[in-house]
């Protein structure tokens, strides 16, 4: 397995993925980057976006992450996401519903509503966009 990249994605709630893959593309805060096996040690913050996992030239998994960190070491790539979902496991409808709820709550809060809620809305918006594409 020496020519495979060990990749794990963990969120505070659980470990979403751990295994050996060919190629991972992640949304760094300074731009999207790809990691192959034997990548040089590297650490970056992430922005909201899609992490794509490729195996044998095919995209095998798409995960949406809400900010966090990526840490590349000789042992592999670790992504610490604040929140992450597998795009295959959620439907547009349910996200839309959540988004509507959060949006309504934000509107109800008034102009200077709380920051956490604003972030939640932005996150759901990004997630929705990622789902549609």
């Amino acid at each position: 397995m020496a020519d495979k990249l060990h990749f794990s994605l963990v969120s505070p709630a659980r470990e979403l993925f751990s295994g050996d893959v060919d190629h991972v593309i992640a949304p760094g805060s300074d731009g999207e980057f790809g990691v192959l096996v034997n990548h040089a040690p590297f650490m970056t913050t992430l922005k909201n976006g899609v992490v794509r996992v490729e195996d044998n030239g095919e995209t095998t998994m798409r995960l949406f992450v809400r900010g966090g960190f990526a840490d590349v070491t000789p042992a592999g790539l670790t992504i610490l996401a604040e929140e992450a979902v597998n795009l295959d496991s959620v439907s547009v409808e349910s996200v839309q519903k959540e988004y509507d709820e959060a949006h309504r709550a934000l509107l109800a809060e008034g102009k200077d509503g709380n920051v956490a809620l604003e972030e939640q809305v932005a996150y759901l918006e990004d997630l929705k966009a990622a789902l549609v594409n």
Binding site: P12, R14, S29, A40, F42, M43, F69, P74, T78
Partner: protein
């Protein structure tokens, strides 16, 4: 006759108490499984986070300054204790043990001439500490609405601590909570939150002589990372506490059920003896009455 009736009533009431403790034990067992799973599930994140922090701080080097959350305020006069207990009782010595550990820590700090402030998380610890230290309380986090979702509370508390720290309200923050070792053992521990301390047992990764590349710069990453590290530590403490509470509750209720069983046995024995004695007494009365005729 009245003695017999009293005994019977007592047996009845102990039996219904036993039913309640048994039900509570089963509820705690079911909740424990869930709480334990949640605590376990959060472990990979927490330990990786700790590793990353350890690596970063190691490469930053000692005394290099860095963000305040890591370097501290340069003082240690005012200590903030975050005491984390459960919202409910009926869990044996769980809350009392944590409160005792907190009290020891407070006395130790006071003896060293430090100023102590307290934030309590969970009602029970607050009740215990109220008598002696209510003048040190500065805030309280109520977890009774949390159910199993601690994340918003952990993040809220993390933000609050960061803000207070930046406002210079305290120099050192320590978290006192119950570490969940296993179902039978929960040990109260004190863990320093601010300035951040990388755990001693973090794995250091051998980079094979290569140099880490940071994007954006190292201080910026550290700045973004430390508040999250704080939140993560608080969250895992909350999860461990929740698991510990259920485990302690289960053990306590198991003991209570067993004690009730023993009490019922001895009361039943007493009841039967009294009944037998009464029958014998009645027989003697009848026989001696017949003999007298």
């Amino acid at each position: 006759m009245s003695g017999l009736k009293e005994l019977k009533n007592r047996i009845g009431s102990v039996k219904s108490t036993q039913k309640i403790t048994k039900a509570k034990q089963m509820v705690a067992a079911a909740k424990l499984r869930r709480a334990q799973e949640a605590a376990e599930a959060s472990k990979p994140y927490a330990s990786r986070m700790a590793n990353v922090v350890a690596n970063l701080t190691a490469s930053m080097g000692e005394g290099a300054g860095g963000p305040k959350l890591l370097a501290g305020s340069g003082d240690d006069k005012v200590h903030l204790l975050v005491v984390m207990t459960a919202e409910r009782g009926l869990c044996g010595g769980f809350n009392a043990n944590t409160a005792k550990a907190a009290r020891l820590k407070i006395e130790e700090l006071k003896a060293a001439g430090k100023e102590v402030k307290i934030i309590t998380v969970g009602k029970k610890g607050r009740e215990v500490l109220k008598h002696a230290y209510s003048d040190m309380f500065i805030d309280h986090v109520d977890l009774s609405d949390a159910k199993d979702k601690f994340t918003p509370f952990a993040i809220g508390l993390g933000h609050d601590l960061t803000k207070r720290f930046e406002d210079g309200e305290f120099d050192v923050a320590t978290l006192v909570f119950s570490e969940f070792k296993n179902v039978l053992t929960q040990t109260p521990v004190a863990k320093q939150l601010i300035p951040a301390e990388a755990p001693d047992d973090a794995e250091t990764i051998d980079l094979g002589g290569a140099i880490y590349a940071y994007e954006p710069s190292e201080p910026e990453i550290l700045e973004a990372l430390l508040p999250r590290y704080l939140n993560t530590q608080i969250l895992s403490a909350m999860l461990e506490n929740a698991a510990g509470e259920q485990a302690a509750s289960m053990t306590a209720m198991d003991n209570a059920t067993r004690n009730a069983g023993e009490l019922i046995d001895s009361l039943t024995l007493q009841y039967n003896r009294a009944r037998q004695a009464q029958i014998t007494k009645e027989l003697i009365e009848i026989i001696s009455g017949a003999e007298a005729l």
